[in-house]
């Protein structure tokens, strides 16, 4: 007996996705990615000289990610400025993107990735990762592949793909589990895994397989958006 989703979606159905590249003229690379009502925009600056100079590393470049919500992107106004939550998410996104970058080829430099959420309906970090991956490619930074990300949810006993806010707040039975996952496209290498909730160890594999399928769809959309900007 599968759970009925408030949105009426099937268990493996993503929300409508929009992806666009080249949305911020000042940036070296930029992109927008949305899952339904969750909208992320990203600007990439660099590789550029890292200041202050003492932070420069002659053995490697540095990836610096900043993720945050705009104050009015959530129902209770978010106090502007960094929090423990945004600091942690920025760092895990950095780790999610690093495996595809040859960052050692850019010694003494920094690549800045600025991720902001305009409107939040859960799954914000994974929307941010999808946009950031496109923006890095748009900036012309050599990458092994794109990174694709999606949040798998578990509502009571059922797995669902692309969690929205109604689902994040689900409380019956085994409750809600939020399981954001990022991977290198077309591989079985996961670059981000976070989890909150209750999930049996033997189900984790099924959740990863569900994420694989969703990421295949997301990958096609990312590639299409990148091609569009090149052809323009």
């Amino acid at each position: 007996m599968a759970i009925k989703r408030v949105s009426g979606r099937k268990a493996d159905e993503l929300r409508p996705i929009k992806a666009e590249v080249g949305i911020i003229p000042n940036a070296d690379g930029s992109a927008m990615f949305s899952f339904g009502d969750t909208v992320a925009i990203v600007a990439v600056y660099g590789p550029r000289q890292l200041h202050p100079q003492h932070m420069q590393d002659p053995s490697t470049g540095i990836l610096r990610v900043n993720y945050d919500l705009l104050s009015f992107s959530v129902s209770d106004r978010k106090r502007p400025g960094p929090s423990r939550r945004s600091t942690e998410i920025s760092k895990v996104i950095e780790w999610a993107l690093l495996p595809v970058l040859n960052i050692k080829d850019f010694p003494n430099t920094v690549i800045d990735v600025q991720i902001y959420i305009l409107q939040a309906d859960a799954s914000t970090r994974v929307a941010g990762i999808n946009a950031a991956s496109m923006a890095l490619a748009h900036a012309g930074i050599p990458m092994k592949n794109l990174v694709c990300a999606v949040a798998i949810g578990k509502l009571d006993k059922d797995l669902v793909v692309d969690v929205d806010k109604d689902e994040e707040d689900f409380e019956k039975g085994e409750g809600a589990t939020d399981f954001p996952i990022a991977k290198i496209a077309n591989s079985d290498e996961y670059t981000l895994m976070q989890l909150d909730g209750k999930i049996q160890p033997e189900i984790v594999k099924k959740a990863l397989e569900m994420a694989d399928k969703a990421c295949d769809e997301i990958y096609e959309i990312q590639k299409k958006a990148l091609k569009e900007v090149v052809e323009k």
Binding site: D57, T87, Y190, T191, L192, M193, G197, K198, E202, K205
Partner: protein, 272 residues
Amino acid sequence: MSSMEISNLTRNVLKSIFAKGKRFDKRGLLDMKDFELEYGVSNMAEGSARVKLGKTDVVVGIKLSTGEPYPDSLDKGNLAVSGDLLPLASPRFESGPPKFKGIELPRLIDRMVRESGMLDFKKLVIKKGENVWNVFIDIYPINDDGALIDAASIACVAALKNAVFPGIDENGNADYKKRTKNKLPLSKEIVPISFTFYKLDESMIIHPTREEEEACDAKITFGISKWNGQFMVNSCQKGWESTFTKEEIEKIMEILPKKYEEIMKKLNKFLK
């Protein structure tokens, strides 16, 4: 900074001995460190515990105070986990505002405790909508020799089990001079513990020493507990610049319940 980083030489030696399934301290790659636990770090705390996991030594104290509930959870008490990586515990730790490691540690413990359902937040209400108990879990490493989060998780659970409520005065404030014998509203069954798996090349290890930990290029932390007779993963976070494959995650999911039972076998003797 750079002088503190592990040398390539050390990393390469560890790579080659891990590939042979060996470690300097004679453990197998997935063998855990032994731990010791004691209570009563501070008699001013409502509960406290100290865990030595190998040479890693961490103290955790529980303080309880009363206060207003959050507007979005009027019928629940509050939990706040903090951690301070004292420069006392390692030449790697510096004083000043918390660096990332000092933010990650308490957040991982917070999610593990909160999501497991170990603590019944509704039973922390003194007067609905007005006065509730705040539970503070404060973590301080005394000596960091790797696997700090895993050691801290054991100490946190023990300190929570060990804590008793203070009295309440006529104004609804905590009266620390009148300690009660009432324990926190904790589930008997649910006892979450964290396990972090570390990767260097293809090798996976658990409970690293500091040197081993610093050589690794990926880690993943899982909080696991038992709920209604089944194992439940309650929290997870992958860290650092490398990846985990599906095969590796599957392997971890098989090992996790076994490691949990192994720790619980010993921990249950301490938890009353």
